[in-house]
Symmetry: C2
Subunit: 426 residues, 2 copies
């Protein structure tokens, strides 16, 4: 046997052992009372605070190595922890603990005339693998949400955050231990070998769901190659549409916030649509407000005719997720034209209408096919925490299983419980 | 360009055109009022009855060809239509029409302290492709359920049922036409070219969900090769577990029905588990009842010690979906042993406990990880019609999106509608 095939088969065996352990632990967590899962989450928060000095040291080593590797400032910002971010992780675990039990709830029940009774009850999904890049807090949020819903987790972080993630994992496992739950309910892939990800893609017997958290290329690779079902989002090309009935001051405040509060998040607005009827009056102050906030504005011909100083938008701009201080502006001929533009260029993430006309808003909310549709609110609210889910494991833009911010309750499935008294089928 | 690559590219273009048409029609159906979709379903039922003479002729031609190809009796039985089966399809469309609208319903709503309001509303999945084998009624049920939930359908049936399915499609399209809905909401793949299925697998831009209806090899191929998300089930290795507290007469009636009512359906019981405490008393009459119903019985050593005339069960039997008049019998040492056996050998479809002890039944119902868990009722009730869903497009044994019988309400997704009054995120 060559060295290469030997190590491939060793890696395979190692991953199967990891999957077996996670699956066994999941059965225990699935049958555990909510109070035990809550204890584990709260104890993990305490443990995280307890190791904060060591975690900061480990993270500093990760950051130093990332700088050596020439990673840019945005990358370092995602990777770096401080006291506040550690406290944020701990608080998030406590918020997850405080929410109601997503398991066991009977979400439907009915009876037949012959007396047979039906219930639909929430059950865990099983073993969930999470592949993420540099943000260490994803480890705590993902493991916490999965545990809450009775799932086991297999985490695979980027090599740059390895030291930090291992420390966070140890705190999660301390929480499990204190609650009397198996530590294998939360795991990290024990090797940085890139082939390990390929193994995860094929572990359909061990992994029920794979969630990629990271940039477009990661998500695209997972969606292309994984045989395990995937929940993820590719991108957020989100629109804020200023209807003719909009209040100008509200439009200015909401659009600037939607674009500029944080430009790098998937809920940021990328394109401003504005009704022709009010463009001449509204566009100059809107462009000024955006420019004052240091945003570059790129417009179509009609927008440039009103505001000659803005840059011209290219055809590709309408499909571009800038994730930066740049916004596209298009003048549209009313609600139908706005809906048609979003139909064509939207990525199914978050879309907003700013309008006083309630009928126009209602039509927008019911006809736009996106995970989140908003009326008179910033698209930056597209976030599980803001929705009240305690935290989120990501935002799903596909249509299957879960859509929008994914919290613990979305990491469940259901099954049917049927009660008879000797019923046989004719 | 060679002939082969030319025809491949022609097929590709043809499939993309089909997908584009379905997608456009789906947008119209998505926004149509429930009354229009109901009209289409009821008119399709009328149209189906109206063409019954022609449909029987077309079906007779399909059957004759299948016989020439040497298909067996079970195959011919699935393929063949008669007046009763056509009336059954029409009634099923009317039952689907009569159910409440699965779209638009607000299944959750809440508000934040700052006044922002959230609603979760049901929306269609989009375009659903259904690949099926010989049963022509799948075409009517699948197209009807998809239409009810605002989805467009692309059907791909086996070549043996081509004439029958084309007639059924024409009735569905007549219904759409009479309701003023686009006929492209229901389509069949216009060629029997086997490569067309490979094209469906890659149409991630056009198809939101792929449902295979057929034998194990079809489902396995779809799950292995499709890049489009798949909802399906591989098999039903279902257990009926006779607890020590079971009533013997009830056990006899339920087990014989669960195994023998129809042996070829996925909800049929394949293995009987019986508690050691009552095996000596219960097994002989249970085996006699099964034998009297023409069922072969294969048992483990403990079962054979009690009933020496039964056949010996092999190790593989416990994982075998017989779909035939054969049952495995194993003697188990109580509830935990039964749960462990089902954990190991069950396929996550339907599992049943027969017991008078309510606590034992409750534990079974909450701990068995299957799509359907039953107490004192035949596993043959695993069917969307019996559950009251009007009809079913299949039974899902995976954990994602939908589980158990899949009716119109399970062919939907949801999105969030958020209403603010100028809310911006700090």
């Amino acid at each position: 046997m060559t060295h290469s095939s030997q190590s491939t088969s060793q890696l395979h065996d190692q991953m199967i052992a990891l999957g077996d352990g996670a699956k066994r632990a999941q059965r225990v967590v699935q049958r555990s009372p909510h109070a035990m899962r809550q204890t584990a989450l709260k104890a993990a928060a305490v443990a995280l605070r307890g190791i904060s000095v060591d975690l900061l040291k480990a993270n500093a080593a990760d950051v130093a190595q990332a700088r050596e590797m020439g990673k840019d400032d945005a990358f370092i910002d995602r990777l770096a922890l401080d006291e506040g971010r550690i406290e944020g992780m701990a608080k998030s675990l406590e918020a997850i603990a405080a929410r109601p039990d997503p398991l066991g709830a009977i979400d439907q029940s009915w009876a037949r005339e012959d007396g047979m009774r039906f219930e639909r009850a929430r059950v865990p999904l099983g073993v969930i693998a999470v592949i993420f890049e540099s943000r260490p807090n994803v480890a705590a949020d993902a493991a916490g949400l999965c545990l809450k819903a009775g799932n086991a987790t297999i985490l695979r972080g980027g090599s740059e955050s390895r030291r930090s993630v291992e420390m966070i994992l140890s705190a999660m496992q301390k929480g499990l231990e204190q609650a009397g739950l198996p530590m294998e309910a939360v795991n990290i892939v024990p090797t940085q070998d890139r082939d390990a990800v390929g193994e995860l893609f094929r572990m359909t017997e061990h992994i029920d769901l794979l969630i990629p958290r990271g940039g477009r290329s990661l998500v695209a690779r997972v969606q292309e190659e994984s045989r395990v079902p995937v929940l993820g989002h590719l991108m957020g090309v989100n629109h804020s549409y200023v209807h003719a009935s909009a209040d100008l001051e509200m439009a200015k405040a909401v659009v600037v916030n939607a674009k500029m509060r944080r430009t790098g998040v998937c809920g940021a607005t990328e394109t401003l649509l504005i009704d022709e009827a009010v463009a001449a009056k509204y566009l100059p102050p809107l462009v000024k407000a955006l420019s004052d906030a240091q945003c570059r504005v790129r417009g179509d011909a009609a927008a440039k005719a009103i505001c000659p100083d803005i840059e011209p938008a290219s055809d590709e701009d309408w499909d571009t997720e800038w994730l930066d201080a740049v916004i596209n502006v298009r003048v549209v001929d009313g609600l139908d034209a706005a809906l048609a533009h979003i139909d064509r260029h939207g990525s199914g993430h978050t879309e907003c209408i700013i309008a006083s006309d309630q009928a126009a808003a209602d039509r927008f909310l019911s006809e736009v096919d996106a995970a989140i549709v908003m009326h008179n609110a910033s698209t930056q609210f597209a976030d599980g925490g803001e929705f009240g889910f305690g935290a989120e494991i990501g935002i799903a833009t596909g249509r299957l299983h879960a859509r929008g911010p994914v919290g613990a309750e979305h990491l469940t499935s259901y099954h049917y419980r049927v009660r008879g008294s000797g019923h046989i089928r004719p």
